[in-house]
């Protein structure tokens, strides 16, 4: 008899060897354990062990062999046992249960099991504690450390335990909340949550006093007290995350708010000017849609998952990526996800910031490298497991992300324009339609996610706000929707369950029909004991909500079930504009839809001009040009991110056509392309850009540079300039402070100006306004760390022909040219950070000049005049030239006899925008000159095909070997 199955890999696993390396300890071994709620007799033990292990590569530990087997590896003295906390999604356990049930059929019913990671170590206890801290997250896992002897004893005596979720048995009785209380008490409800009978609080609602007063007034008019569910629902629906109150607020003299004036305003202006069918579905749906070709629409959405990723980097990132996948599934009648994008803004993984949420070194922020690694793996597992390629991304490091990492996850989807003759991007839940919830079950995970992501991260941030992703459940659900339901028009509307859970998704969708009635007791739960309000707002993942005409319901449920996916009728849509929720026939929510969606008090914001922090003069470190190039190449923001590109499957779906690693020398590119249809040569080019480093100096220019770079990268890749759309993701800090709001207004204004100038509509966007950390340093001093305002612009464009796609590899004898003028713009550049700077300014964008460059480039490229090209960005011409050489493994001579009043360093390292490095075959120069005016380009050298880059100025020749540059460029990022 035993209650555990423990499995050991015979050979050292990758994980073991990386642990051994990291901790400089060869005596580390990992066991995959499963703890059962029931004892297994010998026969079942043997049978189940065989089902979940591999005879060839693994050994199964038994009471008899455990001592002998383990002592053959080392003389272990400590054990770290890592389990999921009760109630946290345990994907491995789910799979094991399925295997057992399928194979043993009825003979092994009703049992629970949990997967466990057991690490055996020989070492000192201090080291063990350190290892356990690096391997587990106390927010979602329990960590036990005990002596190896005890482990052996546990084994003999069947003392491995699985803890079930034990929620106090509670009978629900309708809870009414008295809001006729003092302002102070009222604001406590907003900040700490509704008070339970035992005086404990449920956790933040993120409602300010004004909102609570609006709720009080509403219920005063309808002459009754609100229920807890009503207050929770209003908190979700009115959260900054869902309503974007700051973007819609009156700000200074902008009555309509910056979203309407600058973002939507830009798009409306562009649509008015363009008069074509490019923009299909904007701002209203889960993602933004544009025309791909005459039969297909593509959609794109980018989300952030910052706060969850700060608390649980792996879980936060995986739910970030699978969550945004669902935004595509919820676009129109359901678009198939065809590409993922990512952008991470992180603290230096090699630094120990030692930040705490509470005084006296309590409640620490996770270490920066733990966060970075967790985020990178979260998106890997989410993307790879879902079979969606992840070609496009970037990573940027700055100390100011120590309090909160920024995790941007994006997805591109594709959908036929028409489904059974009807426009696929139009959907409408009709009165009488059944509300069907499909996918995963509901648990306590993610409670209060929407309300707390709108708040600063402080000691009251709720721990249950973490969600764990289960990409396989989602993949199964997604396959049914796209392949077996959508094209038969079996449902009238569909949306994703994201922030705010059902309260949000049903609340939004019901706008299409009028209102809704939901029966909460029908909703399948992961475990019993959830309060109705918890079921209603839970953010458990992998669920979609569908509006299904009654006649199709049976068929739809049957198709889901046949693929191992749960689907449940939970209510219906009605015509009356009422939101009604019942729990066992008791009505616990009854609100007017109008109040639910529009009843929140509108903000009235004022901005003030911020103090501009001037970059301190730094002494320029004297070193040779070659040395400077090496320093820049190996700096974290320029160094290759190849290690991410190779762990993200970018080839699945067989669409990758411009890959993330470019040239024989594998340079990490800033744009990628996929060809989504087998029968059309049109491709989709993707890129993104953000310049948080420019934000404090000039937020207007910061936004301008982001749009310019994201646009330029697509032009350089070969996209059609008339078929480019952009997405805005604002990640701001302290958005209740007038100077931060000033920066926001400036950035938004630039969004309007440049989007209109470039004719690139905003098709979707999102904002996250409070990316601040308030806590303490190791001395107990209180600290606030705010991210630099960051605007990520994602760009998506259509490439008409395969032959338009450019390359990074020049040919021997090619002439090298820089398109666009270079100015002394070193402020806030990588160069100024590493080498130092004197007097300079930050880059800005002259859209007229930029567009001239881009139009001419596009023309020349279509005519086959351009042989190779790369956009010039961080590190300026110097880095662009070096990257081209590394990519092509071909040397250049670069002429630095400069005519203008600009120094060699300014010329080579300025980050002046709107420039492209190109190479031409000599015989194309005449044709090139027919397109480009002499003042619009500079010839800087030629491709020699040797193995060195040679820089010549008036005095001397400086040489660097390409292989040496490649070594610097491919250096490992310390701490990762």
């Amino acid at each position: 008899m035993t209650n555990t199955i423990q499995i050991l890999s015979i050979e050292k696993t990758g994980k073991e060897s990386s642990l051994q390396k990291e901790h400089n300890n060869k005596s580390i071994k990992i066991i995959n354990g499963y703890f059962f709620s029931r004892n297994l007799d010998d026969q079942k033990f043997t049978k189940i062990s065989k089902l979940i292990s591999n005879d060839v590569s693994q050994t199964i530990l038994t009471k008899k062999n455990v001592n002998k087997v383990l002592s053959s590896y080392s003389n272990f003295n400590w054990v770290v046992e890592i389990k999921f906390l009760p109630g946290v999604t345990d994907n491995i356990a789910t799979t094991v249960k399925e295997i057992i049930k399928d194979n043993l059929k009825s003979s092994f019913k009703s049992f629970e099991l949990g997967s466990t990671k057991i690490i055996l170590i020989k070492g000192r206890k201090e080291d063990i504690t350190k290892i356990s801290k690096n391997e587990a997250n106390p927010l979602i896992q329990t960590i036990k450390i005990y002596p190896f002897k005890k482990y052996l004893n546990n084994f003999k005596k069947n003392q491995f335990k699985i803890e079930k979720v034990k929620l106090p048995k509670k009978k629900y009785s309708k809870k009414e909340i008295n809001l006729n209380i003092s302002d102070h008490q009222l604001s406590l409800i907003g900040k700490l949550g509704i008070e339970e009978n035992d005086k404990s609080r449920r956790g933040t609602l993120g409602l300010d006093l004004e909102s609570l007063k609006a709720i009080r007034n509403y219920f005063f008019t309808i002459k009754r007290k609100p229920t807890d569910v009503e207050i929770e629902t209003l908190a979700q629906t009115w959260s900054e995350h869902c309503k974007h109150k700051i973007f819609s607020a009156k700000i200074d003299d902008i009555h309509e708010g910056i979203f309407k004036k600058y973002i939507k305003g830009a798009t409306e202006k562009i649509i008015q000017l363009r008069k074509d069918n490019f923009c299909v579905s904007l701002f209203t749906d889960n993602a933004g849609g544009i025309e791909f070709n005459k039969d297909w629409i593509i959609c794109h959405k980018v989300e952030t998952h910052n706060t969850p990723s700060a608390l649980d980097p792996f879980g936060g990132a995986i739910t970030g990526i699978v969550g945004v996948n669902r935004d595509c599934l919820g676009f129109g009648k359901g678009a198939k996800p065809i590409a993922n994008t990512y952008a991470y803004y992180l603290a230096d993984p090699n630094k120990n910031y030692q930040l705490y949420r509470q005084k006296n070194s309590k409640d620490p922020m996770l270490p920066a490298n733990f966060i970075a690694k967790g985020i990178i793996s979260g998106v890997r597992v989410g993307g790879n497991c879902s079979g969606i390629p992840t070609p496009q991304g970037n990573v940027y490091f700055d100390d100011r992300f120590a309090g909160k990492p920024l995790v941007f996850c994006g997805t591109v989807g594709i959908i036929p324009k028409k489904i059974k003759g009807k426009l696929s991007h139009k959907k409408k839940a009709n009165p009488g339609d059944i509300i069907l919830m499909a996918g995963g079950r509901v648990g306590k995970d993610g409670i209060h996610g929407a309300t707390f992501s709108s708040e600063e991260l402080d000691p009251n941030s709720p721990v249950s706000a973490v969600q764990i992703g289960d990409p396989i459940t989602q993949k199964k659900m997604s396959d049914v929707i796209i392949r077996e339901l959508r094209d038969e028009n079996l449902y009238s509307s569909i949306t994703d369950n994201g922030a705010g859970g059902l309260s949000s998704s049903i609340g939004e969708m019901a706008k299409e029909s009028g209102g809704f009635i939901v029966n909460l007791e029908k909703i399948p739960l992961k475990y019993n004991g959830l309060y109705p309000w918890e079921i209603w707002v839970s953010e458990s993942q992998e669920r979609m909500t569908l509006a299904v005409p009654p006649k199709n319901v049976k068929k739809v449920i049957k198709r889901f079930n046949a693929r191992g996916v749960e689907a449940t009728i939970i209510g219906k849509f009605i015509k009356k504009e009422k939101a009604i929720v019942k729990y066992n026939k008791t009505e616990i929510l009854n609100l007017d839809m109008e109040f639910l969606h529009e009843g929140y008090p509108k903000l009235n914001l004022k901005t003030s001009f911020p103090k501009i922090k001037k970059e301190k003069k730094k002494i320029i470190k004297k070193s040779s040009l070659i040395d400077k190039l090496h320093k820049l190449l190996s700096s974290p923001n320029i160094v290759s991110k190849e290690f991410i590109a190779t762990q993200y499957d970018h080839e699945v779906q067989a669409t990758s056509i411009i890959k993330p690693l470019q040239g024989e020398g594998r340079v990490f590119g800033n744009a990628t392309a996929i060809k989504p249809l087998f029968d059309d040569e049109k491709s989709i080019a993707l890129s993104q850009a953000a310049y948080p480093q420019y934000a404090e100096t000039n937020p207007y220019d910061m936004a301008g540079c982001s749009i310019d770079t994201a646009y330029k990268n697509l032009i350089v890749s070969g996209a059609n300039s008339k078929k480019i759309a952009i997405l805005d993701n604002f990640c701001w800090c302290s958005s209740d402070e007038p100077d931060r709001l000033y920066q926001l207004k400036e950035a938004a204004k630039a969004c309007y100006d440049y989007a209109v100038a470039y004719q690139t509509p905003f098709i979707s966007g999102k904002d996250s306004m409070f990316n601040d950390f308030k806590g303490f340093d190791k001395t107990g001093k209180s600290v606030k760390i705010s991210i630099p305002p960051t605007l990520l612009i994602s760009s998506i464009g259509v490439v008409n022909k395969i032959s338009h796609l450019t390359k990074i590899i020049p040919d021997d004898g090619d002439i090298l040219l820089v398109l666009g003028a270079t100015r002394n713009e070193l402020q806030d550049s990588v160069y100024s950070k590493i080498i130092g700077y004197e007097k300079s300014k930050n880059p800005d964008v002259n859209s007229k000049n930029a567009l001239r460059t881009y139009r001419n480039f596009e023309k020349a490229n279509k005519l086959g005049i351009i042989n190779s090209a790369i956009g010039i960005d961080l590190g300026g011409i110097g880095i662009a030239v070096t990257k081209m050489a590394i990519a092509s493994k071909k040397g250049f001579t670069i002429d630095l006899k400069l005519k203008n009043k600009i120094s060699v360093d300014q010329f080579l390292f300025s980050e002046t925008q709107s420039r492209i490095l190109v190479s031409l075959k000599k015989n194309k120069l005449a044709n090139f000159k027919k397109i480009f005016k002499a003042s619009d380009y500079t010839i800087i050298g030629k491709c020699t095909g040797s193995d060195i880059i040679e820089f010549k100025d008036n005095k001397k020749i400086m040489r660097g070997k390409i292989s040496d540059f490649a070594k610097s460029y491919k250096q490992k990022i310390k701490g990762l």
């Binding site: 696993t13 994980k15 591999n54 079979g387 080839e651 990758s656 450019t806 590899i809």
Partner: protein
Amino acid sequence: MNVLVLSGYGINCENETLHAFEVVGFKGKIIHINDLIQNPKQLNNYQVFAIPGGFSYGDDTGSGNAMAKKIMTNLYDQLTDFSLKDKLIIGICNGCQILINLGLVPSLNKKDPEVALIENKSGSYECRWVDIKVSNNKSPWLKNISTLNLPVAHQEGQFMIPINLLKSIKANNLIGLQYINHHKKLAKGQFPFNPNGSKDDIAALTNQNGNVLAMMPHPERAFYHYHIPNWQSKTLKKFADGYKIFMNAKKFFA
């Protein structure tokens, strides 16, 4: 000529795999494993059984294991029968892991799996293009091919084979593909030419008849010339190397 392409539970390369077969002349269908379990007789309508790549069951309990156990419980005899006929089976990436876990390859002792695919030596997922050579010309899948340039994308692609078995695998000529370096010599375990540290640089194994091929690289992702990295700087034909494998299947039945 009909091909059945398996789907379900996280398999995810079925569309591009079916496309590759269709382009070379097969008729085909993507069939969910649950539908196949419901009606296993439909296997009779097909000459090729393809298990595409993916992440069945999220790789929990080891890549390919859970799906292999589902097949073993519900379809084992039918699939074994299929493999003993004049028909073809291919498993690509996750499909390869499933075939190995089923013991259909190398199938020297019948039943039980004899080989394991374990985690890459690098410890990380590897998505990259590799050069491989064909080591076994008797498999219909690999006839008249000498080398191939294909992408791999996996976390667990390292073949682990007990020494004695390796000897008989070699003696029976069951190594299908091996990783080579840029001098066209065996990679000898050297990364990144051998992306996972596989013993003897093994990238694919076959059964004794050669009609069952379990390969880690993805031929369906190297089908057209524009799939090849840096294709713009090369002079290429319409199809890339992966095409040859699918063409061989067609030729087998022609």
